[in-house]
Amino acid sequence: MNYNLDHLSELESESIFIIREAFAQFENPCILFSGGKDSIVTTHLALKAFYPAKLPFPLVHIDTGHNFKETLDFRDALVKENGARLIVGSVQKSIDDGKVAEETGVNASRNKLQTTTLLDTIEEGQFDACLGGARRDEEKARAKERFFSHRDDFGQWDPKNQRPELWNILNGRKKMGENFRVFPISNWTEMDIWQYIKREQIALPSLYFAHERDVLERHGVLLGYDKNVHTLREGDKVEKRMIRFRTIGDISITGASESTADDLDKIIAEVAAARVTERSGRADDKRSDSAMEDRKKEGYF
């Protein structure tokens, strides 16, 4: 017997270790569930970490009101199958309560508004740790994240004043009102995620697989067209194309790519050959060079 773990098993083991630490060190953790593949993998790892017990944390979904139907159906099925608890924070409610104002204009999005809803949902549920599926390889500000990421009592991230993390000793001590974001899959890459999904046969929303859909092209980004979300302006053209989504977020901002990859093997081949990052299709990151850093400082995922 050679006592070697392959890279996926080593990453899995590290993530399970972190999830178990979060469970032990915090009183009321939750999983931030977006319906995207990274939060699905995070949920899968959490289920594995506590098996045969049930998932000990609720799933928290911030619903922008502009979600793909496929994502919501998938979420509800997952919750049902695992007997999990689901808490939905509604951006529409934050708008109705006057806490945030809807953006206007053709590129209007509810992406930034989510932060307020998220922070309110965290406060209401009294969650002291939120587990998320962010990865360090996704975006340059995220490359600086800790596994246990400290947030002050306004939910803000201070990237220059982070606790050093050494070996595998995690420090989740906090003062009243502060909380943590926990990122168990920090060290995974997009490729690791796909290989692991295949190995573990994890179910995904159909949006990830190539399908025919009405799309709208804007600033070189292909958006899945929804008449309730997108305001058409002159020259906008809606057309049917064969596409798939590499990331899944709010309808208003999630870019699709033209693809014929309709199964996991084809997707893995496509990811291996890809020459642009998966977030290149995200209109939210394109607002400025430090768009992600700015949102994260305010309390975004």
Partner: protein
């Protein structure tokens, strides 16, 4: 495919960013939109070349000031291995960052500018790698193109480094002459240095054997959580969740739980729904025992005949990371495996001058980035091994009781 974690350290001008950029680029890890984005940013800064350091400097302040604030993690893979680079800046809070990056690394990559030879920074990085018990060091003598690819220069630096390294505790040191800028010996060997018979850097990273670094002898399983499903199907299930830090645990093995001292046998080992016959580091598993034993988080499952030391007095090397200075006699929190206690630092033996490796016995002023040897007393016994034998049970962190920041990292002697 396995995983290799390595750390790099260096200042802006020794070619580290260029080297990392080349490894990422040649392994197709840099994407077009990233390249476009840093090309644009380089133009804005008035540079006529693409500044690859912009890839690792992710925060706005870093880009504006041209510095790296923090450890950045980078990922790339070849068909043979997946790599995680802990890229640590050489100037600000260098010790703190190098120690953090080194704590999870199998290997340290040290860059030396062929024109300058061994600098203080080279010594610092090497000492920290040795202190953190990194078993493999690759010394890249860079900018060989600027010394006419001369074998003599390379050999001189190599001899000087070997002389210096005799004071260190590193098992495996390799030397590679490279030009990160021109690419010689980085991914491909190139034709400029026929006198060098070893492999390229990437080839060495792919082939280096690291699995013998793990401790498969001393069984240590710190309990993270107790799993009690409270369901009809698993009514009596009581599982101990944790990660095997060292040794190999097999179903049927006789084990002891510490500090209670109860003995039992391993009944099952599972990882999710899958039962496994044995578990080895660094597997996260859940174990059940034949007997119902009162064991909880902070306890450790070990073999009866191979136990860690239970002690309240620790003799340690300490890297101070906090903004406030170390205060002798003050109470701190100590976190060790899944255990936590309070501690006071009783005495400072000496501080290490990390440039000369001299022991400064008179200097008791310990601030951020200082490395010192101290004695600690804890409020309850901890289950420890020496760091040299066991990184997991030999390491700990110290947390300030006021603001809960991590203020020190320690290694048990």
């Amino acid at each position: 495919m396995d995983l290799l974690r390595f750390s790099t350290a260096g200042s802006v001008d020794d070619g580290k960013s260029t080297l990392i950029g080349r490894l990422l680029y040649d392994s197709k890890t840099i994407f077009e939109d990233q390249l476009e984005s840093i090309e644009g940013a380089s133009n804005k800064k008035g540079l006529d070349h693409v500044d690859l350091s912009l890839l690792t400097d992710g925060l706005r302040d870093e880009r504006e000031q041209g510095i790296t604030i923090d450890v950045a993690y980078r990922y790339f893979a070849t068909p043979k291995r997946k790599f995680i680079i802990a890229d640590t800046p050489g100037h600000i809070q260098y010790t703190r960052n190098m120690v953090t990056g080194a704590s999870t690394s199998n290997l340290a990559l040290i860059l030396i500018d062929a024109r300058k030879g061994i600098l203080e920074q080279t010594k610092r990085h090497s000492f920290i790698a040795s202190l953190l018990q990194i078993k493999h060091i690759i010394v890249c003598v860079n900018k060989m193109d600027l010394v006419d690819y001369g074998e003599e220069t390379f050999e001189e630096i190599k001899a000087a480094y070997i002389d210096f390294a005799s004071k260190l505790d590193v098992e495996d040191i390799r030397f590679i002459p490279i030009s990160a800028l021109k690419g010689d010996n980085v991914v491909d060997k190139g034709d400029k240095m026929d006198w060098y018979s070893g492999g390229s850097l990437l080839n060495t990273l792919e082939e280096i054997y690291i699995s013998s670094d793990r401790n498969l002898i001393d069984c240590r399983f710190p309990v993270q959580n107790v799993i009690r499903p409270h369901s009809d199907e698993y009514h009596d299930y009581r599982g101990y969740a944790g990660r095997v830090e060292s040794g190999v645990f097999k179903v049927g093995d006789e084990v002891m739980t510490l500090p209670t001292g109860f003995t039992s046998k391993i009944k099952t080992i599972n990882c999710g729904k899958a039962d496994v016959a044995e578990a080895f580091p660094p597997m996260s598993v859940c174990m059940t025992l034949e007997d119902d034993i009162d064991t909880s988080r902070g306890d450790m499952i070990v073999r009866v005949k191979n136990q860690p030391e239970a002690t309240q007095d620790l003799d340690v090397m300490l890297c101070w990371l906090g903004d406030n200075k170390l205060v002798v006699g003050k109470k701190y929190i100590i976190r060790h495996t899944s255990n936590e206690a309070r501690t006071i630092i009783k005495e400072i033996q000496y501080k290490v001058d990390i440039n000369t490796l001299h022991r400064l016995k008179e200097d008791k002023n310990i601030a951020m980035n200082d490395i010192s040897r101290v004695t600690l007393r804890t409020t309850k016994p901890l289950l420890v091994d020496s760091y040299k034998n066991n990184k997991s049970t030999g390491s700990f962190i110290i947390v300030d009781e006021g603001d809960f920041n991590t203020v020190a990292a320690g290694m048990i002697i």
